[in-house]
Symmetry: C2
Subunit: 465 residues, 2 copies
């Protein structure tokens, strides 16, 4: 096949629009079909997370597509977590011991719009909005597209078809239902759901709490977080069980119970959220699911990228970054095997699958860590030691969080394996009183390194991954 | 609800027929619907594994239902693995250091038939054959049943409905497709499939190789196993990749390549299998999949048991035992909460889920162990040490395999956690030359215990399960 390959992309979300842009830059003829209206001209944020954390893996992909400079002005740097206790006291907990490492709060809509506008500038790329994909024939590479405006369903055919249509992917559904091959598939839900609320800007259009942090109200069984927006507001997300515990989504059904819940658990947040009950009733409750599958492609015809292949829970702030990194990795494999799509698809999954599985598992780990461990003394001590090590040895020590978030050239799977061993080493050195915070940092660093290596070696001998 | 509850059971396989029997013994009115004809009068073994390993968890369930004495005569004890190398040399590897611990080869059909006959003896229980379930309405507890003889579909309704219809369960399909609740679900396939072959009995109706072992021909990328039947034959199973490696199911398509494969890899087995190519071509290739899901029930109405809730790969010989153990556990929970089905279903899953997840994961581990580790020196040394420990300390030392297979009162999850730590301890003690086979066994035992405890403690401190 030649560069004149006609490419169909289903879904113009964050991953689809970046992929489309990059394939257009490579000279392919690209047609993108999106079920929703153009978000640059219509407000369609209802029920969706309206800001996200953009970090180094995502920025690397922006650089690849030549848009990093345009993305930067949309970013609000967050240097750490600001933990709010039940009395309203706050405690900062930086993400890194290095000054230049931070994550960015960014509007999903603004970023998506920017990518669409960039994509629009290519003559060989067309975006079709309001076209809902009603099904894909994976053998013939045809998609049935229903036009919400004309009410007519048409069929389009591509040489190669990409499913970037998110967690509810129609291409993945075809893989599952058509049974043309053994399709390994999992969807796993947490017992918690989430609901978005808003802390509005002050009358002076300013942020009412510090915009330099990701705010977090950890309460064990439930948790509130808040990320800043450019307009002075914060998007707040409540994570809460559907049916367990004293407070849950099933039993918070009256204005009184909702107010009591916030007044006793998040009093400082409640003071900043007007009409809490209205927001609570009107905003949808979202599910928190992890999706994994394999294979990601069918023959040389079609392939899944982004959330359609690997939806993850939001607790590591890596969902968007992982999807953008998919495009970076995919692009590097096109570079090697251009013209041979089947090889590209195979090598892509072989290269990438362990990493997307790893970030999915890390995100689940963080669900527990954010709820519980941030308030646990031994985990706090570990965090303090790691901050000190990163500050003292900025080129040599990297916590698991730093490897995942700031070291875009370390694959997720490597970051997970090394990071988990390192965490286990430090926690056990603390528990066994083999290190303490008054000790010389070089001595601590050496012990952590030795213990980490011993753990990795022992796991290897036992045949564990 | 009273004991007069009308119970519908979909599927009269091993789990369904045992469950039906037990519920009839408890006095419920039970109707069982099975899509296949009565296997006591029809040969329907085509394509199914025709013998299985019955061990202590399964036998405990037989005891509960009062049929252990009738099952025992169907059993052929296997005391260990007999490993066949590529030159045809054999090496025994016992399952336990205790003389009274062994697993049993048993015919699936004979055992299923025995359970059906026992069930038939209850007036309050009726088994309906040739009734295929075409769908279940989980809200109304109705099943659409197509009768293969009359060609008519009818609808039946129960107070409580059980899905014991195996890996392709129609009840589980309804849970997945009806989307009445968040249904976590996974299906994961190995890259290998399997095919059954036969070593016939000798002219004198005798076994041609020892019937006291599970025979195994481990070859790294593929493997052959054989279990004895009462009629003198062996059921042989080939585990082979679909598409990877020099030999695979996709490329073994001619008589010549099949014969060459067996002649070079399994020469002693080939000598015992007449018409290898015919068998290879005529017998289906089966997939090896693991299925997990949650929740297992809907309200107080219906519930999944056995393979329909948790299909596993066959490499630990625990699939049937786990399904039988489901009935044991379920029965003990009925005992506590009889009359309150919703509580029974909830407590059952809460009690049981971690254990069925554990045996699923252990079975995958054994897939790698059986192919590779049995030929790996360090794993061989570990096995030798464990046999010696079990022989010397029969009441105190239990290998992971022994806990899973012979200690029916240790839950699978406990056996997995302790067993994995113990394996890791022994392997690392060997690798670090901290124990050797000439050492005093009491000293080895003490070191293994200490190291195992240290591993479990370190995992706990790090928050690992």
């Amino acid at each position: 096949m030649s560069k004149k390959d006609n490419i169909l992309i289903i879904g113009a979300g964050l991953c689809g629009s970046l992929l489309a842009l990059r394939l257009a830059q490579r000279g392919y003829t690209v047609n993108v079909y999106e079920s929703r209206p153009d978000l640059r001209t219509t407000d369609i944020s209802a029920g969706r997370s309206i800001n996200l954390a953009l970090s180094d893996r995502g920025l690397k992909a922006m650089r690849l597509a030549g848009v990093e400079d345009k993305v930067k002005p949309l970013c609000i740097p967050m240097f750490g977590r600001l933990i709010h206790d039940i009395e309203g006291n706050t405690f900062p907990s930086n993400y890194s011991g290095r000054d230049n490492e931070y994550i960015n709060s960014i509007s999903r809509g603004e970023l998506n719009g920017l990518l669409l506008t960039e994509a629009d500038s290519y003559d060989n790329l067309t975006i079709h909005f309001n076209k809902k994909c009603n099904g894909i024939d994976i053998e013939n590479n045809t998609a049935r597209l229903y036009d919400y405006e004309t009410k007519i369903e048409t069929e389009v055919k591509g040489d190669v078809l990409f499913g970037t249509d998110g967690a509810g992917s129609s291409l993945r559904k075809s893989y599952y239902l058509e049974r043309k091959f053994l399709f390994s598939y999992s969807q796993n839900y947490l017992t918690h759901g989430y609901k978005e609320l808003e802390i509005p800007a002050s009358a002076e259009k300013k942020h009412q709490i510090s915009k330099d942090y990701l705010h977090i109200w950890p309460r064990g069984d439930y948790m509130l977080i808040a990320l800043p927006n450019l307009d002075g507001s914060f998007t707040v997300t409540l994570f809460l069980s559907y049916e367990e515990g004293k407070y849950n989504f099933n039993n918070l059904t009256t204005e009184d119970t909702i107010k009591e819940f916030f007044a006793t658990q998040f009093p400082d947040a409640l003071a900043l959220i007007p009409n809490i009950a209205d927001e609570f009733f009107n905003n949808p409750t979202g599910a928190l699911g992890t999706i994994k599958c394999s294979p990601w492609h069918y023959q040389n015809k079609n392939v899944l990228l982004g959330d359609s292949a690997h939806a993850i829970v939001p607790f590591y702030g890596q969902g968007m970054n992982a999807s953008f990194e998919d495009v970076t990795v995919f692009d590097s494999i096109i570079e090697q095997y251009e013209g041979d799509w089947e090889t590209i698809f195979k090598v892509y999954e072989k290269t990438r699958k362990a990493d997307t599985d790893a970030i999915a598992d890390l995100a689940i780990d963080n669900y527990y860590e954010m709820r519980d461990h941030v308030a646990n003394p031994i985990f706090k001590e570990k965090r303090a030691i790691e901050m000190a090590l990163e500050k003292e040895f900025p080129n040599d020590y990297f916590s698991k969080y730093s490897m995942v978030t700031f070291k875009e050239d370390i694959p997720y799977h490597t970051a997970m394996t090394k990071g988990r061993a390192q965490d286990k080493a430090i926690l056990n050195l603390i528990a066994d009183k083999k290190i303490d915070t008054n000790e010389d940092l070089s001595s601590i660093f050496k012990k952590v390194q030795q213990e980490t290596e011993a753990i990795l070696k022992n796991d290897m001998v036992a045949g564990l991954k």
